[in-house]
């Protein structure tokens, strides 16, 4: 990617983030939905259900529930990132952009990444409160997990959101296509988060982070390369 490609990517990202910041409605709705999901899990599982080892079931399941909530809200985020343009014909303009299509991919990716991290920054304290988690001791490790996992999610999510932008049953097909691809990220994120929050006696955290890193690398490479085929037509 050349310098002008980087500038193009930045332009796309900046435009998206500016739009998002001005019309906060979508971000607020998405965050509210994610928080509500966390809240609903509390009712579904029950705060009094006994866990196997120490602590209640809800506390033990907390990392998994958190990532499910992020997954669901994240689908809304990436879907939206192309819908605004699809509705108003902006996709034609994007298609006509000269230069490497990868720039558009990375620009959208960056915008989605920022939105999702903002979502997670709000969601983590909520999860900590609802599920009685102590975030402070493992915070750096947790931040690393959230960062890498969100990158993987955004990489795949941006790609599939662009792929399904014109499909009639987009709302259903996007999660249908996206979730199987994200299984490695979900597995690693939940495992690593649990280790970060509840202790890592056997030093497995590094292995999971390496898996996340490898998955991210693969996703970014394949999706960036394939993106030029997505925006045709």
């Amino acid at each position: 990617m050349t310098r002008s490609d980087l500038r193009r990517a930045w332009a796309v990202a900046w435009k998206d983030l500016l739009t998002e910041r001005r019309a906060k409605a979508a971000f607020n709705a998405m965050t509210f939905f994610a928080g509500l999901t966390l809240f609903t899990f509390g009712f579904a599982i029950g705060p009094d259900s006994p866990g196997g080892g120490e602590g209640r079931l809800l506390e033990q399941l907390a990392p998994g529930l958190l990532w499910i909530a992020i997954l669901f809200a994240g689908v809304l985020a990436v879907d939206r990132s192309f819908q605004l343009e699809a509705e108003r014909g902006g996709l034609e303009a994007l298609r006509l952009y000269p230069g490497d299509r990868k720039a558009i991919y990375f620009g959208k990716l960056l915008a989605n990444l920022v939105v999702m991290v903002a979502l997670e920054v709000v969601l983590l304290p909520i999860a900590a409160v609802l599920y009685s988690l102590d975030l402070w001791p493992g915070l750096p490790a947790l931040a690393a997990v959230v960062g890498l996992a969100t990158l993987g999610f955004a990489a795949m999510g941006t790609f599939y959101a662009a792929l399904t932008v014109h499909l009639r049953a987009r709302q259903v097909l996007l999660p249908l296509l996206l979730f199987p691809m994200l299984i490695p990220v979900v597995i690693a994120a939940v495992k690593a988060s649990t280790l970060a929050l509840h202790g890592d006696p056997m030093h497995e955290f590094g292995s999971w982070m390496r898996l996340l890193g490898a998955a991210d690398l693969l996703f970014l490479t394949v999706c960036a390369r394939a993106f030029e085929f997505v925006l045709e037509d």
Binding site: L173, L176, M181, F229
Partner: protein
């Protein structure tokens, strides 16, 4: 036209060979091969279960290669072949999962375990069902071919990562089961069944491809008056 005849002819050949192979294989599997000492007659499901996966692998690999080829060269025949591969693959994927589940129930006591291979193959099914779902919602042939090819390629490339992550997930605290030494007669029966299933898969793919070709031709003919008349 020449292309069509080539795959057609090979397909018919595979089909012709598949019948005796299957008959012979079933005889070997059900009658000739010895009963497994540990698992008993239930083990004989393996003769259908394992070859299903060979067929699945052949079909999905066809789909992957043809999807890749379509993205590069844009020849509709590659799209038809990829579609055929996915459909046949989905069928054998399902039979593999079902026979595995049936085998697992008396053997392990459960219909499902989250073991790496099982989980990965179930995920494979979901990915390629997604391929078929995407195709169902796109009427325009070029867009449909392009987008579904991308789904097939990216989905396929992700499978190794899925497998390894599930394996890590499941075996960090559990010992991996080791393969037992297998009676040579069982291996013979298994191999014949594998060949039979591979031939069946090739035959089915060629037939589905021929159908896809006909459907594609008809679609193009339907679209043409719309383009010319308008």
């Amino acid at each position: 036209m020449a292309q069509r005849l080539g795959i057609d002819r090979l397909g018919w050949l595979a089909g012709m060979l598949a019948i005796p192979a299957l008959v012979f294989g079933l005889y070997l599997a059900v009658v000739w091969a010895p009963t497994d000492a540990m698992m008993g007659t239930v083990q004989r499901i393996m003769y259908v279960h394992f070859p299903s996966w060979i067929a699945t692998a052949i079909a999905y690999l066809t789909a992957f290669v043809c999807s890749l080829s379509y993205l590069v060269r844009r020849r509709p025949t590659m799209d038809y072949l990829a579609h055929a591969g996915v459909e046949v693959g989905v069928v054998f994927n399902t039979t593999g999962l079902i026979t595995g589940s049936i085998w697992g129930r008396p053997t392990w006591g459960v219909w499902w375990t989250w073991d790496p291979r099982l989980t990965t193959t179930a995920l494979m099914l979901v990915v390629f069902l997604g391929y078929l779902a995407v195709r169902a919602f796109l009427e325009e042939p070029d867009a449909r071919a392009r987008i579904s090819s991308l789904v097939a390629v990216v989905g396929f490339l992700n499978l190794p990562i899925v497998y390894y992550s599930v394996r890590w997930w499941r075996t960090l605290h559990q010992p991996q089961s080791s393969p037992s030494t297998v009676d040579p007669e069982i291996v013979v029966a298994l191999r014949v069944m594998m060949i039979a299933f591979a031939l069946i898969a090739a035959y089915l793919i060629s037939r589905r491809y021929a159908l896809a070709q006909l459907e594609g031709d008809r679609e193009r003919m339907e679209l043409q008056p719309e383009v010319q008349g308008g």
